[in-house]
């Protein structure tokens, strides 16, 4: 039988990730290779960068979900069948522009700071979520919808109680993809002064200190793993 509730197994990976982060953080702070590293790094700074990184990801992902899911549902309706490929095409083109170029382009409009970074990240999350929402919604068997309507369910209730729940695993998979991509892409936010773990990577590279560089890169990977895992658990609970 499938397990519905959160089990002890769900905590194993997060515990390992948190242990690794604390371990590495403690190591760099206690055993810096030289005074340059020790002067640059501090516990509050690490917290600040991690917090900024999470902020960028969560805000951009939430915005992307809020735009892509309703848009995807709308486009999956039979009456929008014709514009569907057009809009997916436009979003697709957006995806092909390198993220650094998008950030550079929009610095001119939105200025320096987290706004530009969030905009770029939002743009990058649109496509996977939109595509998966459309795939999930159009993948619901027409017979299931027919029987729901035929038994007397209204269209709105059919959408919320039948179509969306059935499409949810596919939509969630899109959200997971988008979030994981975002964790990596958020690193370049440092170039427009939005902060985040990218600061460590740039600084570490500029002053040529591997401890700082690894702090940024390692933490970003760990966050990606953690968020992917959490969303996986959420998906499992929601779809049962």
């Amino acid at each position: 039988m499938e397990t519905k509730k959160i089990t002890i197994n769900d905590f194993i990976l997060p515990i390992i990730i948190i242990a690794l982060s604390i371990g590495y953080g403690y190591y760099v702070l206690t055993y810096p290779v030289d005074t340059i590293v020790s002067n640059y790094l501090s516990l509050p700074l690490i917290f600040k960068m991690v917090r900024q990184h999470f902020y960028l990801i969560l805000v951009s992902a939430s915005l992307a979900i809020a735009t892509s899911v309703p848009l995807g549902i709308l486009l999956s309706r039979p009456m929008f069948k014709r514009v569907r490929s057009l809009i997916v095409g436009i979003v697709n083109v957006g995806q092909t522009i390198p993220s650094l170029a998008v950030i550079a382009l929009f610095v001119g409009i939105l200025g320096i700071g987290s706004k530009t970074a969030i905009f770029a990240l939002w743009m990058y999350s649109l496509l996977p979520i939109l595509n998966n929402t459309i795939a999930g919604m159009t993948g619901v068997s027409p017979f299931i919808i027919d029987s729901a309507i035929g038994m007397g369910m209204t269209k709105v209730r059919t959408l919320f109680f039948v179509e969306l729940p059935i499409a949810l695993p596919v939509i969630m998979a899109g959200i997971r993809t988008a979030v994981v991509i975002n964790v990596a892409t958020a690193v370049i936010a440092a170039y427009v002064g939005a902060g985040g773990l990218g600061d460590f990577i740039i600084a570490g590279k500029n002053i040529n200190r591997w401890q700082i560089l690894l702090l940024g890169a390692g933490y970003a990977s760990l966050i990606a793993l953690l968020l992917d895992h959490i969303l996986g658990v959420v998906e499992r609970i929601l779809t049962q």
Binding site: S141, F143, I144, D146, S147, A148, I149, G150, M151, G152, M153, T154, R157, V162, P165, I166, T239
Partner: protein, 368 residues
């Protein structure tokens, strides 16, 4: 109960009518089977009744009310709906699937649970075992049982069934058909049943509407369709072996033409007399012999003996006796005779008492 009057359906962008000037009156408590080749408009006709498809011309009355004067949602909540693909909700448990319409009607929880238990019992699914399971863990036959239970949930007077048993293997299909007929005998719903299988139509239908090119070419009882097909199309549809099909419309218990049964002990004298008579007529008749409490014993072929034969009657009996339950059809009886190569079979009741004796000659006469 359902009156379809001069209904025509033309899909937008097409000039050909899918259903043309169709008239059909379906009586309360009857199963009306719409049968025909694919594309003949049978499913379209059915779907117009619960307004899944809107008609172009004409009108449909359900319980003397024009369906276009009622809210479609309300109309559909009062009509059970079963489709071939079951359309069960994969994310709901069996219990919640069956409860779909009661939930839409906002019944209270206890009432819903009670009703689900009752329905699962009706379609022979164990509540404790299946209620909390998802449809994916059920077999095709079980899914269709759930489909039927779900359609019956709010006890609608009318049911629409679109090839409900079409996707099942022949054995499961026959089983579900029989069970459904048993259920129907108790609940007496008005049912519109769509199928392309004429044998299924014969079996399930109180009335059959044979459809071709959006029109009803013949509407009548299975017996009428078999005995008097109106044209070549219906004749082809019912097939060359329509005499055999008629056998499956009559149960052994109903069968009027029987051969005699003699009780031993008891009827020795009449039996001897009968043998003497047979000698004169020289027919090939056989008679059934039953013992005490009407236990079938076997048969005696009358033509083998003459008046002077001194073989004791009991030694003349050909055994073992074949039996068939009175609810089985004559077609089943024929099968029994063919399978065994014997000449006659006893029709018995639940206790195994002989009710009548059917021979090959009787079967011939039954369909003449």
């Amino acid at each position: 109960m359902i009156k379809i009057e001069n209904v025509t359906k033309v899909y937008p962008g097409s000039d050909k009518a899918v259903v043309q000037d169709l008239n059909l009156h379906i009586e309360k408590g009857e199963i009306c089977v719409l049968v025909g080749a694919s594309g003949c408009g049978k499913t379209t006709t059915m779907r117009m009744i619960n307004r899944l498809i809107d008609l172009t011309e004409g009108r449909i009355l359900v319980a003397d009310q024009d369906i276009h004067s009622v809210d479609p949602i309300k109309l559909r909540l009062g009509i059970g709906y079963v489709i071939q693909e079951t359309g069960l909700f994969p994310h709901y448990t069996i219990e919640k699937n069956i409860a779909t319409v009661p939930i839409e009607l906002k019944w209270d929880k206890n009432r819903i649970q009670e009703r689900v238990r009752e329905l699962m019992g009706l379609v022979d699914l164990d509540y404790e075992q299946y209620a909390k399971k998802k449809p994916s863990s059920l077999s095709g036959g079980q899914k269709q049982r759930v489909g039927v239970a779900r359609a019956l949930a709010a006890d609608p007077p009318i049911m629409l069934m679109d090839e409900p048993f079409g996707a099942l293997d022949p054995i499961t299909r026959a089983k579900l058909q029989n069970e459904f007929l048993d259920i129907q005998a108790r609940i007496k719903k008005t049912i519109v049943f769509v199928t392309h299988d004429i044998d299924e139509a014969m079996k399930m239908g109180d009335k059959i509407a044979v459809m071709q090119d959006g029109k009803v070419v013949q509407y009548g009882t299975p017996h009428e369709i078999l005995t008097a097909p109106v044209n070549k199309f219906v004749e082809n549809l019912v097939g060359e072996n329509r005499i055999l099909k008629r056998l499956s419309l009559i149960t052994c218990g109903e069968q009027q033409v029987n051969s005699p049964i003699y009780n031993l002990p008891g009827d020795e004298e009449t039996l001897i007399e009968r043998i003497a008579q047979n000698e004169r007529l020289s027919t090939h008749q056989i008679v059934g012999i039953a013992g005490e409490e009407k236990t079938p014993l076997g048969y005696i072929p009358l033509f083998k003996y003459d008046r002077g034969d001194s073989t004791p009657l009991l030694d003349r009996i050909v055994t073992p006796p074949l039996t068939i339950h009175q609810n089985k059809t004559l077609f089943d009886a024929l099968g029994v005779l063919f399978n065994t190569g014997e000449r006659g079979v006893f029709v018995v009741d639940d206790e195994g008492r002989a009710l009548s004796f059917i021979t090959m000659t009787d079967l011939f006469e039954a369909v003449q």
